[in-house]
Amino acid sequence: MKLPVWLRPILFIAALLAIWEIAVDLHPGQILPGPIGVAGGIVELLQHGLLFKYVIASLFRVTWGFILAALLAIPLGLTLGWYRRGEMAFNPLVQIFRPISPLAWIPIAILWFGVGDLAAIFLIFVGCFFPLLLTAMSAVHNIPAVYINAGRNFGLSPRAFVSRVLYPAVIPQLIVGLRITLGVAWLVVVAAEMISVNSGLGFLIVDARNAGNRYDLVVAGMVMIGAIGLLLDLGMRSLEQIKAFRWRSLEG
């Protein structure tokens, strides 16, 4: 029997869920819930209006942290990438900050911003800033010289050169960088919410465990994180499909 391609992953996941449920049913008294229990947890969250509230709280923090980082890191990275001397001065600092996990900033975030949204946004900002900075710098380095020369030949003003050559030339790489970084932001927000706020999906997971071992809600939170992460990635991927943006992959 030939299955349609799109059906295969669905059937595979369904099979895994069935095994999970059977395994849990065979060992009664386990704290870990089965998929039916988890679905019940999601329904319960929906009924209390908590699911949307938490998802939106998490997305709110990710959006702000991510956008602020992009607004700062991309222009700075493009500038540093263009002026190599600036990059040489900046690079050691970047390389020192880069390997510090955003989670290491949690105490400082709380110290500066208290327990709340700002601290979480700051952590996401820190987690996104350095990868975006490096992406922007390397995107400039990778512009083929021939585009720069062609741009110079037509007598563009510096401003026109940036908007008509530099910017379109780096876009494909920037989009890849933004996509990866958005994934990072989504990872960081969950961790940040476990410590420094009292809403959001990360908070849900920690809170469900602390308030009476509600592992059905813990896993429900995890499922939602995975599902939304997937949607975010699909959204960013759809940007890559825009023809004027995806020339790099077509150059071959």
Binding site: R152, N153, W247
Partner: protein
């Protein structure tokens, strides 16, 4: 006539570009490497010049210096009596590969240098050059969907659209297959005959030079000096099996130091 002295162009035509004792020295890891030495040449308005020489001799360096992308270490390049100090939209360089902007359509590429024109003028100019390089029907196509030859025609159209008085071509057909290359030569000649710009064309293909050029500037191996300047006095269209054509071709092969037989 092995000489580095300036060579007088056709008496009737006005002088367009002149290099005087041009020298370029590259600095590689603290070592200075002379690439061009004492290049003096005069090119007349509307002339078709080919620069040939062994590969790596500095043909492209000479072209890039003439176009203002590189500064001479010694000597000078003047166009219409004015010293060249940088790239200028009045003369456009066509690159061997990847010269068109992949994020713009055919129309967008041809219109790239035309942002100062009014909308209608711009559209007219684009339509004219789409036709000139025979890309009708591909106006909204992105370069990734064009063949290599079409991309090079597009690059030529983008260059012509800004009305340059000199077109520099850096082995523009070098990356094309041999059949496309022959077709492209015909197209370029047709365009040159109708538009009458000065063309300076770098190639390592002897036949290409003899088929296209009014004069062929032969460079020696690095550091490049002018070995000879050969006038191809055959009117277009050229019969490429005529004795005179073969004679000039042999002469050129000899200049480059290639034997008659393989």
């Amino acid at each position: 006539m092995s000489t580095t002295e300036a060579v007088t162009p056709e008496p009737a035509a006005g002088l367009k570009l002149r290099t005087q004792h041009l020298g370029v020295v590259y600095d590689r890891d603290g070592k200075s490497m002379p690439v061009l030495e004492d290049i003096s040449v005069e090119i007349a308005d509307g002339e078709f010049i080919c620069l040939v020489g062994p590969s790596g001799c500095g043909k492209s360096t000479l072209l890039n210096t003439m176009a203002g992308f590189l500064s001479p270490t010694s000597g000078s390049v003047t166009i219409d009596g004015e010293t060249v100090s940088g790239p200028d939209p009045r003369r456009i360089l066509v690159f061997q590969e990847r010269g068109v902007f992949p994020w713009l359509t055919v129309e967008g590429n041809i219109g790239f240098g035309l942002s100062k024109l009014s909308r209608t003028e711009r559209a007219e100019r684009i339509a004219h050059y789409v036709k000139t390089v025979r890309l009708e029907g591909f106006e909204n196509t992105y370069p990734s969907d064009l063949s290599g030859g079409m991309k090079q025609r597009l690059q030529v159209a983008r260059a012509l659209a800004v009305n340059p008085d000199i077109l520099y071509l850096d082995e523009p057909f070098g990356a094309l297959d041999s059949i496309t290359r022959v077709i492209m030569r015909g197209e370029l000649l047709r365009i040159w005959q109708t538009e009458r710009r000065t063309i300076i064309f770098v190639t390592h293909d002897i036949d290409e030079a003899v088929q296209l050029a009014d004069r062929v500037v032969v460079l020696s191996s690095r550091p490049a000096r002018i070995k000879d300047i050969l006038t191809i006095d055959i009117p277009h269209p050229r019969n490429i099996s005529s004795p005179h054509y073969l004679e000039l071709r042999d002469e050129l092969l000899k200049q480059i130091g290639l034997a008659y037989e393989i």
